[in-house]
């Protein structure tokens, strides 16, 4: 690691009488999962580099309630939502960025009716706007000509119609972007959504992540780009199952950009 990460909390901003430009919603996976923590850090490096005045909630953040809601536990979801909304509104948060499409979808679509109104963006959308504003520059050199295929997370793609932001970022790496047989609005789920991440799958003849990983491998890509910590886990497991570890890597779009920058 080159420099220590600067990760101020919303409470620290408040103590200084300041408002963050944007709140980075880290999410449970980004906070606790070893693989996802790397994505979190890569994104923070980019935020630091671009000089974004962001804050995190730290220990005041709690699960958005997405897995509970999709598992059918509306009660627990709304409890979580109301608690989070109280915290967010307490800090008068206006804009939220998150690297998790599940948090993104829930915060953006399901919190407003419960009293939480924020501008919510996915980290790929946020990075795209940083580049458009020339606050961040991507040097493609390192990935020039590398074969990358992008896996659309259901909750970013179909659920919220964002297919282009992550692809535009990848194109800036000068990589060769390959599309899978099923992509964009026809993209196949990695198998983690709807709280499936937390349970064994029902009996069948294959695991969904294996099917999806095979599709990704068919493209001949050396890197599978993901935009969701859960997809990342599922695809990484798929790569292990296909015994392609070390040959094919699963990386978040933010990690790719941070790597290109040698951050």
């Amino acid at each position: 690691m080159s420099e220590a990460l600067k990760v101020p909390t919303a409470a620290e901003f408040l103590a200084q009488g300041k408002q963050p430009e944007v709140l980075f919603w880290v999410g449970c996976s980004g906070s606790f999962d070893d693989r996802a923590k790397k994505i979190t850090k890569a994104f923070v490096k980019l935020l630091n580099k671009a000089g974004v005045e962001f804050a995190v909630l730290g220990a005041e953040e709690s699960c958005t309630g997405d897995p509970a809601k999709r598992a059918g536990n509306e009660f627990l979801f709304q409890m979580q939502a109301m608690m989070n909304i109280e915290v967010l509104n307490g800090y008068e948060i206006k804009k939220i960025v998150t690297a998790c499409p599940h948090c993104f979808n829930t915060l953006k679509n399901e919190y407003p009716e419960l009293g939480g109104n924020y501008e919510v963006v996915h980290h790929t959308q946020f990075l795209k706007s940083l580049i458009a504003e020339s606050r961040l520059k991507i040097e493609g050199g390192k990935f020039k000509g590398k074969k990358i295929t992008y896996h659309d997370p259901c909750y970013l793609g179909r659920a919220n119609d964002e297919y282009e932001a992550p692809r535009e970022l990848l194109e800036k790496l000068d990589a060769a972007l390959l599309e899978m047989k099923r992509s964009k609005r026809n993209g196949l789920c990695c198998g983690a959504g709807g709280a499936q991440m937390f349970k064994e799958p029902e009996p069948g003849n294959k695991d969904i992540n294996i099917e999806r990983t095979e599709e990704a491998l068919e493209t001949g890509a050396e890197i599978i780009a993901a935009g969701c910590p859960f997809c990342n886990t599922m695809m990484t497991d798929g790569i292990k199952a296909a015994e392609k570890e070390g040959k094919v890597e699963v990386l978040d779009v933010a990690e790719l950009i941070a790597n290109a920058e040698d951050l």
Partner: protein
Amino acid sequence: MKILSIIVFALILVAAVGLFARNIKRMIRNIKLGREVDRSDNKKERMAQMLRIAFGQSKMVRRPVSGFLHVVVYIGFVIINIEVLEIIVDGLTGSHRIFAPFLGGFYDFLIFTFEILAFLVLVSVVIFWLRRNVMNIKRFMMGELKGWPKNDANYILYFEVVLMSLFLTMNATDFILQTRGVEGYAHAGEIYGSFPISGFIVPLFEGMANSTLIIVERAAWWLHIVGILIFLNYLYWSKHLHILLAFPNVYLAKLTPQGKFTNMDAVTKEVKLMMDPNADPFAAPDPSAEEGEPESLGAQDIFDLNQVQLLNAYTCTECGRCTSECPANITGKKLSPRAIMMKTRDRLEEVGAVINKEGEWKDDGKTLLNDHITTEELWACTTCNACVEACPIGIDPLSIIMEMRRYLVLENSAAPNELNITMGNIENNGAPWPYNQMDRLNWANE
């Protein structure tokens, strides 16, 4: 003779339309068994969505082969129905090609177009039949189509073939009768209509005497219109209800992002009460707020689904595009979003049959959950929305799955054990894993 045929025609027409109206009324009654849902918003956007997706078939053509063939049959169906209008007027007045003198050359053009379309429909229907029965396309071979659904699909194709053939036979014989100047068909030397397709089958009939020809022509005419009326009454029992319901169904479909699930109001009230420090947890519920029986949370039966979801069930064409995109189904799980829709309709019909028989709903000891849809199917869903995206006519199988999961969890506490653990973690630690919420920022220093 003429009067008699007019009377018979009128009677058949009235009976057929009456029967059809009765079926539609039953269908509406059944749909109204569901909960009310307000979709009176955004009229313009809804209208545009209907024009694009239902009328314009924009999602059909995402699969180019079946999409194109379907568009042909659809256009053929809609346009050839103009001819049905003339047949009905002819039948009721005892006239022959009553529109011809008014429309002149345009009439010839119309008949010309109808014939071309009839031919294209025939070709498409043959390809459809091959796709469904010979080509081993997975979504047409699946278990859930065994029996009635498969027969239903084929019957309609046979029906189309018969109707189109009758239409062409009618035109061919009529043409010969017109040219021969037979009374009742001749129009002072003028030939009404233009027959690019039936012209080819004219030689088949040319050897016939006038009297035989008249019998063939009349038989074709009668069978054609009676066939259409039978088709009309067949709709209610068939996946072909979509030719009517696709339009309202797409109009009423959800407009918000696919990822946005409903927030349950009943739960919001309870949660707000729990979180309000001033609320008295032991206060008696406000009696004025209680209207009748409290609704169950989530859906156990069709009564707990909303009316759009029930309309969805009647609208489903059983095409299986949803299922062929479903990650759970692709990987061999029991879940099939098409089957979710078919089972919902089956249950709705089962309930409707009780009401038809008893005059009102009497509990039959069955429910949609368990008797039709199993929990194994429900828990296999990843909520990925692929089914919703794939459906060409705005059906949302996922919303039914979600309502039923809600019932399982909120009313029955019947989630799979691993999910109970996950939810326990969220409740206690604010994360689906057993980590301490206080450690949420540890990554920054690792």
